[in-house]
Amino acid sequence: MSVGTQTNPHLAPTRPLGALYAGNARSVMLRGWRATASTNWLVMLSGFFEPIFYLLSMGLGLGALVGTITTEAGQEIPYAAYIAPALLAVAAMNGAIYDSTWNVFFKMQFAKLYEGMLSTSLGPLDVALGEISLALLRGALYATGFMFVMQVLGLNLSWWALLALPAVLLIAFGFASVGMAVTSYMKTFQQMDWINFVLLPMFLFSATFYPLSVYPPGLQLVIQALPLWHGVELVRGLTTGLVDAGMLWHVLYYLVMIALGLVFTTRRLRALFLD
């Protein structure tokens, strides 16, 4: 193809997102899949077992002492069935966060992987979408495994539980998207530790192990502003069969998270590697 004679520098870009997106996020995912398959799969397994251990120790162990718990709708359910959906949401979050924070941080700061990718015809949105999708996939894998364990233990109380799978996909997508956006602004290991500093209390306090009603009203509002609470409520509603239209707000919350994460990640990658 001869392009040497083509001299029209003011030609409009051929696609609306031309400089940002080449429609090839798949190649970025494919890369991540190969890399995970060859090097990281043991680390990957550990993330899968973490929520299962919580379920066994807290749900079955502590649950024997707690007995049943009364939900906000007044339904009596076993303690394990109460916390299992919360841990399912946590599993999705963990999987998504692992790939979208530490992995991304390493690739940006040390491996210069994105520098290499962005000197090909890929755009920053391809890289963002590819990496986030991979994180999402990991979250989905963790969650599916966890759902299976829940089914075996008889903790899925309703057929609505089937919808918990797309719900955790949404949750994983949200966390992956925001996780990568936040990570793209991080420069040091110390800053990366802040992420854990935020995640741990969020995990413990987002109505994961007990109802929101134990908090005073002011604190309830704080918890309700956090993303994990929305995930927990959404999944809990589905696996326990207490479904109502208000759950759509949780969905909307995650859709906004996904959009914001994608916008900021793309912007930041562009600023960093395509200045």
Partner: protein, 308 residues
Amino acid sequence: MPDPVIVAQDLRKTYAGFAAVDGISFAVERGESFGLLGPNGAGKSTTMRMVGAVSTRTGGSLSVLGLDPDRHGPEIRSQLGVVPQSDNLDTELRVRENLLVYGRYFGLPRAQVARRADELLAFAQLEDKAKAKVDALSGGMKRRLTIARALINDPSILLLDEPTTGLDPQARHILWDRLFRLKEQGTTLLLTTHYMDEAEQLCDRIVVVDKGAIMAEGSPAELIRRYSSKEVLEVRFGSSRNSEVAERLQGIGDRVEVLPDRILIYTGNGEAELVRLTDAGLHPITSLVRRSSLEDVFLRLTGRTLIE
């Protein structure tokens, strides 16, 4: 007939008030091998990044393959091969996988990439290492793999940022040989380097860049002819005697430069000058005849010390 694939006119890049590239103009013809020479911080890499469509310019105009990099980044990048200054190979993937995955970034079909990867492994003399881990490769091998990777999309232009910095002589020579083959096949090369010998090996034409501006332009031979001599005779008489001896060196060489530790005599024939020296009764403690290097041309252009 001239067929420029890269045209830069008064190209500028400013970072927070600092002009990294300050009005550079040059044109690279199709099939030409063009070198940007200069010290660290001269603006070489910034220029390369703008040509590579990964950095937008602050001013001037730039056309790569007839397109504006600020507007057509992906289209331009799809036809470039980039060898960055420091290797950014994918260490989580094996050698051949690096080529396969990189090819897919360009959206090329799997079968085509696989075929090309095998050709390039042969070209880079890495066939035995196809399944090796990247970290297990030597510096020279990593460099060759990076070059192979840059060729996966069959680029019209290959951009090389200091391709042999940090390599041992054997590795450099192998690399030069590979790059020379590409040049023979008609690939346009744009490279930056510190080394005059590298530029002489590979470049048809050179611009010398310093502080973001072009100091000189020409073929390696022209530059040496214009700004230095073919050879340099370095003699040492001991720190205390150098300047005293220097007065007796009238008429020797094309030009004499006295440094605190040694005297440089620029000449077309170093050995002959050395004979003339000893005939004149001057016996240096040590003497060295070498070819002119970038340093000689460059220091001549920018002045040696004390004008910082």
